[in-house]
């Protein structure tokens, strides 16, 4: 049977089956099992109403349990067994093996980089785009163009950006836009300005910003009104941001010190460490539209009086944005940030299609795929899936807690 026909039959059977199930099970419940007539009519109606929700929920619960619930536990079990020894229980041996692999730590490091850079950049760009497009007439049109990459598959986006990063041997015409631009820098004043001064300025601003955030986190300790847990959290996160700031400052000297290969076409995806950022650009490009749409809705929801009051008090547009608007949409920013974080944790297609983890660009999801389907090592593959699950679970718990709060 041709697949298209099979598909059609499946739609009919699937949809018809579902509808039929719901219809006939309800009918059976009302007419045969607990008929709403005869001597026990009242009791029967109550009983039928107790059973009915489970009829409605039945297929969904079975599908969810089988396709999402059961695999969590089965994966956990598989990560503790060895396939080559007839699924014998091997304790944490798979995890030990995995922790001993440099490729795993490379994937962890890269994932952490992705986790910091992609949500931050997407949210920042999204916020910028939302704020700017809300103020102009053709904003809706601009928005839909920036939003468009959301519809493009990761694989399609990978092809698009492979063309951007394409490199031809020196002497040939460059057909990748990045190399075409790069070749314009031949070591003169322009190169100095754009390749040395600009990164230094960006790094310095970044370092200052992170240090300022760290200071904001640490400052309330002096007043001493928090309890001990909050204090500890403040100290830890404050110290982390100071540390990031120091790293950024150290990188300034690296930027000034390195001799850039001006005039040489670069195959960007093979430059270790920096190629991670070239891959991240793809995801940032896709996710910015998402952040923009959500944040723009939140910006519109801000009560106008607060902005008006600020204007009357003489605030400039930047103060209005950072001191009035951003604090009010903070909850939405957190939601956007966590949603993008979830996407990042599962990022697979981009790395798979563009570098397949070569040149030190491995990430956890692709590492797992490698282990499961290339090395056929289900134990270590499952162990790395569990690591992904562990990284996701704080968000999972937070979401559930929020949902329960809302229900009350």
């Amino acid at each position: 049977m041709s697949p298209a026909l099979l598909g059609l039959v499946t739609i009919i059977i699937g949809v018809g089956g579902c509808l039929g199930y719901f219809y006939f099970s309800n009918l059976f419940l009302d007419k045969v099992l607990f008929p709403a007539s005869g001597p026990n009519a009242g009791r029967n109606i109550n009983r039928a109403n107790m059973v009915r929700p489970w009829l409605f929920l039945g297929p969904a619960i079975v599908a969810l349990g089988l396709y999402l619930g059961y695999p969590v536990f089965e994966t956990l079990r598989l990560s503790l067994t060895d396939r080559t020894q007839d699924d014998a229980f091997v304790g944490l041996a798979n995890y030990q093996q995995m922790f001993a692999e440099p490729k795993f730590w490379e994937a962890m490091r890269n994932n952490m980089l992705w986790l910091i850079v992609v949500p931050a950049a997407s949210t920042a760009f999204g916020l910028l785009a939302a704020q700017l497009t809300d103020r102009i007439k053709w904003g809706a049109f601009a928005k839909s163009l920036i939003f468009m990459p959301m519809a493009i598959s990761f694989v399609g986006a990978s092809v698009i950006f492979k063309l951007v990063y394409d490199a031809r041997p020196a002497g040939n015409e460059q057909i990748g836009i990045l190399n075409a631009i790069w070749m314009q820098f031949e070591g003169g004043f322009g190169s100095l300005l754009f390749l040395k001064m600009l990164p230094v300025v960006i790094l310095a601003v970044f370092a200052a910003l992170v240090a300022y955030i760290g200071w904001l986190l640490l400052r309330p300790i002096l007043s001493g009104s928090d309890n001990i847990v909050v204090k500890a959290l403040r100290v830890i996160s404050g110290l982390i941001s100071l540390w990031i700031s120091i790293i950024a400052l150290r990188n300034i000297f690296d930027v000034l010190g390195t001799d850039l290969p001006n005039g040489q076409p670069q195959s960007w995806l093979t430059v270790p460490f920096y190629n991670n950022f070239f891959l991240m650009v793809v995801l940032i490009w896709i996710q910015t539209g998402f952040a923009m749409v959500i944040l723009s809705a939140a910006l519109r929801g801000i009560p106008e009086e607060t902005v008006e009051a600020a204007i009357v008090d003489g605030a400039n547009p930047f103060q209005i944005f950072f001191k009035i608007k951003v604090p009010q949409i903070m909850p939405t920013i957190v939601v956007v940030w966590t949603t993008i974080t979830l996407v990042v944790l599962k990022v697979f297609d981009i790395v798979f299609a563009m570098t397949n983890g070569q040149w030190e660009t491995q990430v956890l999801a692709n590492y797992m795929y490698d282990k499961l389907f290339r090395a056929n090592d289900w134990g270590v593959g499952s162990a790395s899936a569990i690591i992904i699950m562990l990284l996701v679970s704080p968000i999972l718990i937070w979401n559930v807690v929020q949902a329960r709060k809302e229900m009350r």
Binding site: A60, L64, L68, P71, R135, S144, V159, L163, K346
Partner: protein, 387 residues
């Protein structure tokens, strides 16, 4: 809003310009792929796609007429004609030729009007800017004519040949037709079935009272973020054990399972916001839950159903991982477009004309859906993530 204090915002220009810059930056990569898909392989490797939109100076290799056009004048064989008019390939007549050459080592050695003597002085060649040439040789001509390189300024030129190759040629390596149909076969049932299942469940969670309801909702919120990577091996094992194996049925079930949490969550949020009066009135009038659901809730929930349908459609159409694990077997007969493109990246990494076209065929459908139903997509996003 910023004009309330009675002053025109001086930032207006800056804002407009920044948005233009941002939009261009975001569009640029996609446009590059689109333009490349309409160019030949030679054009793509000769110049960046951003130059394809303007007339450009190009070097083209052509041939003079061969033995059949030669006339004997004394002891010379002479071929005369017009390079642009005689050859089917190359630039259209009317292009202005600036330089020419007869050796691949010096393709632009001579300006038009000059005469070159080569092959140990046995041959001469000259041509004018319109392509009229005169070629003489002391030896009898071979069947094929002399190779000539011309440098000419050519108008932008685009071709549909790549789409022909990718969609209609039937070449098994490049063809996207089969992959296109396969993708469609995966996508449509995988979009419709979860909607039906989720709609009933969402109704129960929104409007029916039963013990454990809050717990179930919390569980669904939790399942919303469970990475599907966890499900790959256990489910593949399950499918192999119960005899589904790798195939369409497996991938439909998998997509249904993975799509359900979002579907139930979105639909429940929407349905619980519907006015209580309607439902209670219907109950008073003696409608059963099944009737309320099909006659009242479903029609009213259309926006939410559309939102989720778009999500699920985009997600299944663009998916690579689930298809690779649950669908594509070693024969490759059931390959989907995303997988086909990844394979093309491996086998034809340098053939940008094929890659760009294949990728564009694959992203054109989601783009159409996106622009046609953007309103529902935005609404779904807002319902799905902002609380």
């Amino acid at each position: 809003m910023d004009n309330i204090a009675g002053r025109k915002s001086g930032l207006s220009w800056a804002v407009n310009l920044s948005v233009v810059a941002l939009v261009l930056l975001w569009l640029f990569p996609t446009v590059g792929l689109l333009v490349s898909s309409f160019r030949t392989a030679d054009q793509i490797s000769a110049s960046g796609w951003w130059k394809a939109l303007f007339p450009s100076e190009q070097v083209v290799q052509l041939r003079t007429g061969g033995a059949d056009m030669a006339k004997q004048e004394g002891d010379l064989w002479v071929v005369e004609g017009n390079l642009l008019e005689d050859s089917e390939e190359g630039p259209a007549p009317g292009a202005e030729i600036t330089r020419f050459g007869v050796s691949s080592k010096a393709v632009d050695a001579f300006a038009v009007g000059e005469t070159t003597t080569f092959a140990k002085d046995s041959k001469t060649f000259t041509m004018d800017a319109a392509g009229n040439y005169r070629f003489t040789t002391t030896k009898e001509l071979k069947k094929r004519g002399q190779r000539v390189f011309i440098t000419a300024t050519l108008p932008p030129e685009f071709t549909l040949a790549n789409y022909d190759q990718v969609l209609l040629s039937g070449n098994s390596n490049d063809s996207m037709t089969k992959a296109f149909l396969n993708t469609l076969t995966v996508t449509i049932p995988a979009t419709i079935i979860p909607i039906v299942i989720a709609a009933f469940a969402a109704y129960a969670l929104a409007w029916m009272e039963f013990p454990g309801r809050a717990l179930l909702i919390a569980a669904i919120v939790g399942l919303l973020v469970v990475p599907l990577q966890l499900a790959l091996i256990p489910l593949l094992k399950l499918h192999l054990n119960i005899g589904i194996g790798k195939g369409y049925l497996g991938v439909w079930l998998a997509h249904t399972g993975f799509g359900l949490p979002l579907a139930i969550y979105l639909l429940r949020n929407y349905m619980s916001g519907l006015p209580r009066d309607i439902i209670e009135n219907a109950k008073v009038d003696g409608a059963t839950d099944f009737q309320i659901f099909t006659k009242i809730i479903l029609p009213l929930s259309f926006p939410a159903l559309a939102s989720f349908a778009i999500f699920q459609f985009l997600w299944t159409w663009n998916d690579l991982l689930v298809a690779k694990v649950f669908l594509i077997d070693s024969t490759g007969n059931t390959t989907v477009m995303t997988n086909q493109i990844v394979e093309l990246l491996g086998t034809r990494g340098g053939n940008w004309e094929i890659l760009a076209t294949a990728a564009f065929v694959s992203i054109s459908v989601p783009l159409l859906v996106f622009f046609a139903m953007q309103r529902y997509l935005v609404r779904g996003l807002l319902a799905g993530s902002v609380k």
